[in-house]
């Protein structure tokens, strides 16, 4: 029987400071970059017009740019979409713009005339066209934010109910970490934040939670089993014991996300990227964020011994205080 990591005994928790460094190195520059430059939201969120064109002859983004410039559309973004015959043209609205449908229709008409002028009639088709008003986009951003927030609350309550409140806090914070690193990843990759990407982020949240809970379940069990061990030891033991499962499940999941990434086409690719990264960050955070946070909480607010949670604090041995040694009497 093949068995990976059957009797693994790595000191995961001991390496946590190194792990913090790694995640900070990924997360912090990305977040600063996001704060400075913002995320590349899709027009679903910003409002605007998207025209996907498919040309008969291969062309380049530069040629399309030139054609649009001549047609008077200077603020368009052009992106190659898979092959050299497919391009996506986006015209975003500034968040304050009051735009009606006619303006969006004008945009699509402008794209049409500009490309016809450059490439000739019948030389391209429009397989996809989207126009979103600014109000719809704003609402959507708000709704996405609320959905993520509420899902946090719900898991916190569920974990507090099934485990202990501190487990819920640790799992939720680990999940927050996943969202931040994923956002940084999205920024590095310059992926477009569309509805589907938001769905991917929420799926990463679910996946990471899932993973954290598998380890916490083992922690819960081991806390009862090994009453004498401290929490760091129990965390290490639990992570090592669940390691074969982690390797296998992450393996099968990675297999599917890679299949999506490579084969499922351009529309799904951002989703697949986010999911692939999410599996790594989810695994990482279950081990290096959720566990250590639990440990930190335990240090700060030691739990009741009756719940079996012991911290790496000075052993609470009840020793009767020694009577102070009698002061040497100095007698004159």
């Amino acid at each position: 029987m093949t068995r990976f990591f059957a009797h693994a005994n790595y000191d995961f928790i001991g390496l946590r400071r190194f792990a913090y460094g790694v995640t900070a190195a990924i997360m912090i520059p990305g977040l600063i970059w996001i704060l400075a430059g913002g995320l590349n939201y899709s027009i679903e969120f910003t409002g605007g017009t998207l025209v996907q064109v498919q040309t008969v002859q291969p062309t380049s983004a530069g040629e399309i740019r030139g054609a649009l410039d001549r047609g008077g559309l200077r603020n368009a973004e052009i992106q190659q979409f898979g092959t050299a015959r497919e391009y996506v043209i986006r015209v975003r609205l500034s968040p304050t713009a009051v735009v009606d449908q006619e303006q969006a229709a004008r945009t699509s008409a402008k794209v049409d005339t500009a490309l016809t002028a450059r490439f000739g009639p019948g030389s391209f088709t429009v397989p996809r066209y989207e126009a979103v008003g600014p109000k719809v986009g704003g609402e959507l951003r708000q709704k996405a934010f609320i959905a993520i927030l509420l899902s946090f609350l719900a898991t916190l309550v569920y974990l507090a109910f099934r485990f202990e409140f501190r487990f819920g806090v640790a799992a939720t914070l680990a999940t927050a970490h996943d969202i931040l690193t994923t956002l940084a990843f999205i920024k590095y990759m310059n992926l477009e934040v569309s509805l589907v990407v938001v769905a991917a982020i929420l799926t990463v949240v679910g996946y990471s939670l899932n993973d954290t809970i598998i380890i916490f379940d083992r922690v819960r069990e081991n806390l009862h089993k090994y009453k004498r061990d401290d929490l760091a030891g129990i965390l290490n033991r639990s992570i090592n014991e669940t390691l074969p499962r982690s390797v296998l499940t992450h393996g099968t999941t990675i297999a599917t996300t890679l299949a999506l990434l490579i084969f499922a086409g351009e529309v799904i690719r951002p989703f697949a990227w986010v999911m692939t990264f999410g599996i790594f960050t989810g695994t990482f955070s279950s081990i290096y964020i959720a566990g250590p946070i639990l440990l930190a909480i335990e240090h700060r607010w030691p739990g009741k011994d009756a719940r079996g949670v012991r911290a790496r604090v000075a052993p609470a041995v009840h020793v009767a205080p020694k009577p102070a040694p009698p002061e040497p009497a100095v007698r004159p």
Binding site: M1, T2, R3, A6, D100, Q101, A104, T125, V126, P127, R128, Y129, E130, A131, V132, G133, K135, V136, K143, A144, A147, S151, A154, T155, Y158, F163, L195, V196, V198, A199, L202, T203, G206, Y207, L209, N210, D211, I213, I214, D217, R218, R220, E241, R245, L248, T249, G251, T252, I254, A255, T256, L258, A259, L260, I262, F263, A264, G265, V267, M275
Partner: protein, 574 residues
């Protein structure tokens, strides 16, 4: 009881049967455009899995009230009116499964799968509604012209069969010609006099929810009174004709012929009812011969509301006209006491024309007899829709070409097959026999998830397919957890049987807790998402539930069978 192998196999068998049943190709009612351009219900045999707009291509429109040219007084009410109007026009889009729904309180979503012309869709949606009150043809001008029409049709060599054939040839799955059994109609509708109707139909009719009797039963020759007349039955009032639902296209085709058009009396117009009615086991579509000049139009209407009459406790619609409208209406109703007045919205007659009891000026009441308050509210909405325009602006528009959808399906299918094969390979390579059991359970997982999607009539979207592929990777997790536990127990030196028992038992907590929290996240995703994302969330939720059932219950059953066959088993291939 549920723990014996037999009972478990029965439960699994039932689950398989339910899913297989929900996926079995069945007759689905679809609205398709006939050769004559008319939308009609036809049945199609196919797998009941709906594809989202992103897969089959089509147009998605998001509409809100346009308040840029003056505020709309009661926005919530205006949205309801607009919704009513769009629903009335639903057939004009000419697509099989249009979706018109209210989103929240202020938005209307229109989804038109397969439609390629956004400009037309937008024009239909934004056109303002037109309401007219028209008197029915009380002098029976139309009915008296019927014999002439029949003669003209016969002279032109037109029979019901020839027209029906022409319609059937071009309309896929059109209902077979089936004249109404006259006796059933006689009883309920009065004697089947040879009455008829003519001229062009109203622009379109709304979705017919009625049942259809497709018994092919050709009694045309037996009646022998011309091609058109036998298809029309006298309704409850002058100028109302009942047409068997499956004959509507034929009647329309006959009425549209130039030799019939010429014979329609001057000043008479033919309008179809918005909805079919059922009489006994059959569905009829009422057709009305109306006086073309409306006695009043919607612009004079100020308000309409549904109320319960305090004395009779019956649903009524009270309406108010403007002062000028009141003067016109007073004059007209004075001339038409005891006549029937049709309420026509966008050329379709809404509800049965009520009779005018007395002269009405600015305030009137429509009694609906035994109709429910719901019906009254519906009629009030119709009146208001024609009276108070609810201008709509398009706040969101998405068009996906069918080729893009096809490409997406093609790519996603390849990704799905490769992803599943990889998972199968990993599981069998690592767990051997146990892996084979898990893969068998995975196949059931696929069946349960897809069956569940069909059973809930969820829509399959591209992110949904991606979510499904992803869920296959995650679905084996429960099995992995269990198998790892079993291995741990075996490593402790326990017997095979005990290890399996313990493995399932110990893994249970982790499986339930982790899956419940994932479902919670997916549920919020469902709540927040629109179209594609909703499809993703529902796939994920179904997938998790199905994976719990297959990983825990189904593989356990496999093991029970396996152990029973080999009682003295010492080693386990895991």
């Amino acid at each position: 009881m549920l723990d014996s192998i037999r009972a478990r196999l029965i439960v699994i068998g039932i689950l398989i049967a339910i899913c297989a049943f929900s996926l079995w190709p069945r007759n689905v009612t679809v609205r398709t455009r006939g050769a004559d351009g008319r939308m009609r219900d036809t049945t199609e045999r196919r797998m009941p899995l709906k594809q989202g707009l992103d897969l089959q291509g089509g147009i998605h429109l998001g509409l809100e009230l346009d308040q840029s040219r003056g505020k709309v007084a009661d926005p919530a009410d205006a949205i309801d009116r607009a919704l009513k109007v769009i629903r009335t026009r639903i057939d004009e889009f000419g697509v099989a499964e249009p979706l018109v729904q209210k989103l929240g309180t202020s938005r209307i979503i229109v989804e038109l799968p397969g439609l390629k012309d956004p400009a037309r869709a937008k024009a239909i949606v934004q056109r303002s509604a037109f309401l007219e009150f028209e008197m029915t043809d009380k002098e029976e001008l139309f009915r008296r012209a019927l014999p002439a029409m029949d003669r003209a049709l016969t002279a032109a060599g037109v029979t019901e069969r020839s027209i029906g054939q022409a319609v059937a040839d071009t309309t896929r799955g059109a209902a077979a010609p089936a004249p109404a059994p006259a006796s059933a109609v006689e009883q309920i509708l009065g004697s089947p006099k040879d009455t008829g109707a003519a001229r062009a139909r109203g622009r379109d009719t709304t979705r017919a929810a009625a049942k259809r009797d497709t018994t092919p039963q050709d009694t045309l020759g037996a009646l022998g009174q011309g091609p058109l007349s036998p298809l029309l039955f006298q309704g409850q009032m002058v100028g109302e004709f009942m047409v068997p639902e499956e004959k509507v296209t034929i009647v329309e085709a006959m009425l549209a012929r130039p030799e019939v058009q010429r014979l329609v009396p001057r000043g008479i117009i033919i309008r179809w009812a918005a909805e079919p009615v059922s009489r006994g086991a059959r569905a009829y579509h009422p057709m009305y011969a109306l006086v073309e000049r409306p006695i009043i139009t919607g612009e004079y209407l100020v308000d309409a509301r549904a109320e319960l009459d305090p004395i009779t406790n019956q649903a009524v619609v009270n309406f108010t006209l403007s002062r000028r409208g009141g003067r016109i209406f007073e004059r007209e109703t004075g001339k038409h006491i005891q006549d029937h007045m049709a309420i026509v919205l966008d050329q379709l007659v809404q509800s049965q024309p009520p009779v005018i009891r007395s002269q009405i000026s600015t305030r009137g009441q429509i009694e609906l007899g035994s109709a429910s308050l719901q019906d009254a509210q519906d009629l009030a909405l119709v009146l208001k829709a024609g009276a108070l325009p609810a201008p709509l602006q398009i706040v969101e528009e998405r068009t996906v070409g069918p080729s893009l959808g096809r490409d997406s399906i093609h790519d996603a299918t390849i990704a799905a097959v490769i992803g599943v094969l990889l998972v199968v390979f990993i599981m069998i390579a690592y767990y051997r026999l146990a892996g084979v059991l898990a893969v068998a359970a995975l196949m059931l997982y696929v069946l349960f998830t897809v069956g569940g999607l069909a059973g809930l009539s969820a829509t399959l979207t591209l992110p949904g397919v991606a979510g499904f592929v992803l869920s296959v990777g995650i679905a084996v997790d429960a099995n992995v957890l269990i198998f790892e536990r079993i291995r741990e127990e075996l490593a402790l030196g326990k017997s095979v049987r005990l290890s399996i028992d313990a493995g399932y038992k110990m893994a249970m907590n982790a499986i339930v807790d982790s899956n419940v929290s994932t479902i919670l996240t997916a549920a919020f995703l469902f709540q927040f998402g629109t179209g594609p994302v909703k499809g993703f969330a529902i796939t994920l939720i179904l997938g998790i539930i199905a994976s719990m059932v297959t990983a825990i219950y189904v593989t356990r059953t496999f093991y029970m069978i396996y152990l029973e066959r080999r009682p003295g088993l010492q080693t386990l291939s895991i």
